[in-house]
């Protein structure tokens, strides 16, 4: 016993004494040294602080590029308005998707949720004689419920969002087929029985540019979510959870409750998208927007939001959706086959994620 004690004492004596003058007061302990910075490093830091810059630059470059390739046809008022119209639905889905991806999740079921909500709206108002507004309300409730369902599965069963929404994608899609019997609700029937469902598809002409009301609603949704994310505690908590869920929990955020609310808000946004989609497409088709899930993820990723959560902006996703629209339109006007549109989009996704990874290295 005593020998151990002596050994320990000896060890301690051999250690250098902790001297008070190591790092004495006159030294600046807070000095914030970034060291020699190369131009590349500076760019990296700048992009890190301004994640929306990359999609903005890509958008501007692609608009200029396609202007050259496709010529005046690309810049025609008709074509530019068409791009915005085509982007509307994917844009709304992407705004909802952004909320989920910011929490380091992913939602593969958004488009199926949207179609399900639009089926409720169409079925009730056109075929079951329910007044249109209550039918729309039911659709909204369906969106919130399906979103919250995803959130509950993620938080209660501790399953990865990818798996949960892969499952619910199929479940929601099956429900759509069940409720519709694979039959579309025709545009003409909607027009007669529930014209309000077509409201967001109505157009106004602003100096040659034709916009649907839905396009304005999409912008409105983005602005609303921007305020929510940046000006409210709820929004800061979305980022905190995506950044480090355990840290957020220890900071006093009820992370599970928050996550359910985030999925529910995303569901509500998706349900609004459902109403807009009826106006855009005209009919309610059970098989429409089958690729909407992945398109929304594409827009978010190209918009500079990190799949690892906590980083990104809602406005970036709007630019991401526009970039996809500009690429598809430009390439098709340039006379390239659809396969090359997909090819280009694929490259864009990989580049976007590559840039994100590179920017994220700053924090280490």
């Amino acid at each position: 016993m005593n020998k151990i004690s002596e050994d320990i004492s000896k060890d301690l004596k051999d250690q250098p004494k902790f001297s008070g003058d190591i790092g004495s007061k006159d030294q600046d302990h807070h000095s914030f040294e970034l060291g020699e910075q190369t131009t590349l490093k500076k760019i990296q830091h700048f992009l890190h602080g301004n994640p929306t810059i990359v999609p903005v630059i890509i958008l501007i470059l692609s608009v200029i590029g396609f202007g050259f390739i496709a010529g005046g046809k690309f810049f025609s008022a008709f074509n530019l308005s068409l791009i915005v119209q085509q982007v509307t639905i994917v844009g709304i889905l992407a705004s909802a998707q952004t909320l989920i991806i910011l929490t380091a999740g992913i939602d593969l079921s958004v488009a199926a949720m949207m179609v399900l909500a639009s089926v409720f709206m169409g079925k009730l108002s056109v075929e079951m004689g329910v007044p249109t507004l209550p039918a729309i309300m039911v659709g909204m409730i369906s969106g919130v419920a399906t979103g919250a369902f995803n959130g509950l599965l993620v938080t209660r069963l501790r399953l990865p969002p990818f798996i949960v929404t892969l499952g619910t994608w199929n479940i929601f899609f099956a429900l759509v087929i069940f409720f519709t019997g694979s039959q579309s609700i025709r545009s003409s029937d909607i027009e007669i029985n529930a014209p309000l469902l077509h409201f967001w598809g109505e157009r106004i002409n602003l100096g040659g540019f034709v916009f649907t009301y839905g396009a304005f609603l999409m912008i409105g949704i983005f602005v609303f979510l921007w305020f929510l994310l940046n000006k409210t505690a709820w929004g800061r908590h979305v980022y905190a959870i995506g950044d480090d869920k355990d840290a957020a929990e220890l900071s006093g955020i009820r992370t599970d409750r928050m996550l359910v609310s985030i999925y529910a808000v995303a569901g509500l946004v998706v349900a609004i998208g459902a109403w807009v989609s009826i106006g855009r497409v005209g009919s309610v088709s059970p098989t429409s927007f089958y690729e909407g899930n992945l398109d929304s993820i594409t827009a978010v990723v190209i918009g500079g939001t990190s799949l690892f959560g906590g980083r990104g902006t809602i406005i970036g996703s709007l630019f991401g959706a526009l970039i996809v629209g500009v690429f598809s339109s430009g390439l098709s006007i340039a006379g390239l086959d659809v396969l090359w549109q997909r090819f280009a989009l694929g490259c864009l996704i990989i580049i976007a994620v590559g840039i994100d990874q590179w920017i994220r290295k700053v924090s280490n």
Binding site: N2, A233, R236, A240, D243, D244, A247, G252
Partner: protein
């Protein structure tokens, strides 16, 4: 003087393993209580019980003489027991201000805050700056800087500032210097002094004997799931403390 925090006969078993065996602890106003113990002595279980992360099987905790019970760190925090975790529990992608007020944000007055739930970013930034300067950390240039751009010591500073800002009765600090270099450790030890000077007592858990001996007023030696003894760092050497900790030497009888 009445202790602020008293832990009485805390016990906790994990299956057949006894992590805490009738452990006691007292924390007095204005002091830094060092907690040391060998690996597996039950030190971290003791701390987890005090900060609310673990619910004990038996025993009671008195805060200001009143029995309290909590089942989560959040509940402990609302009672005024703040913990600075080893991993700090900060969100690196958020700003200093955001981090300091995470979960306790200040909303704007009137309609904007009440119905639109807008945050009062200005008030939060001012308050954060005030708190940091009180702790001598004002040299952090920009209060809206992201936490990930800060050094390890500065992050510790933010975590400590947060822990001492909201009607705090006591702060538990878990290995605050473990991940830091010599210079930054120094700064954190000074910080502990600043917090004590502001009248907030601290429970300091550390493996670093020189650090504990430097800042602690009393040292609680934990061994085999219970308190072995409490020693005065001025009367004992570090080697004595290690000897008590490992069982190489009999503890002093008070």
């Amino acid at each position: 003087m009445e202790p602020i925090l008293v832990a009485k006969n805390l016990s906790k078993k994990y299956g057949k393993v006894v992590a805490l065996d009738n452990a006691n602890l007292e924390l007095y106003p204005g002091e830094v209580l060092g907690v040391i113990g060998d690996n597996g002595a039950g030190k971290s279980t003791l701390i987890k019980v005090l900060c609310g992360a673990v619910v004990p099987d038996n025993g009671e905790i008195l805060l200001d003489g009143k029995p309290v019970s909590f089942t989560s760190p959040i509940e402990a925090r609302t009672l005024g027991i703040e913990t600075v975790y080893q991993n700090l529990a900060l969100s690196p992608a958020l700003s200093i201000t955001d981090n300091m007020f995470l979960g306790r944000e200040i909303r704007q007055k009137g309609f904007m805050g009440k119905f639109l739930r807008f945050l009062d970013k200005k008030a939060m930034a001012e308050e954060a700056r005030k708190r940091l300067s009180e702790l001598g950390l004002l040299t952090i240039q920009n209060i809206n800087q992201l936490v990930e751009t800060l050094s390890g010591g500065q992050r510790q500073g933010v975590a400590v500032a947060r822990a001492t800002s909201f009607g705090t009765k006591l702060v538990i600090m878990d290995e605050p210097t473990a991940a830091l270099g010599v210079k930054e450790s120094r700064r954190v030890l000074e910080l502990i002094g600043e917090v004590r000077a502001r009248g907030i007592p601290i429970i300091l858990i550390s493996h670093n004997m020189p650090h504990v001996f430097e800042v602690a007023d009393r040292i609680h030696v934990h061994r085999l799931g219970t308190r072995l003894c409490v020693i005065d760092p001025k009367k004992y050497e570090m080697s004595d403390a290690v000897a008590f900790m490992t069982g190489a030497k009999e503890p002093p009888k008070d």
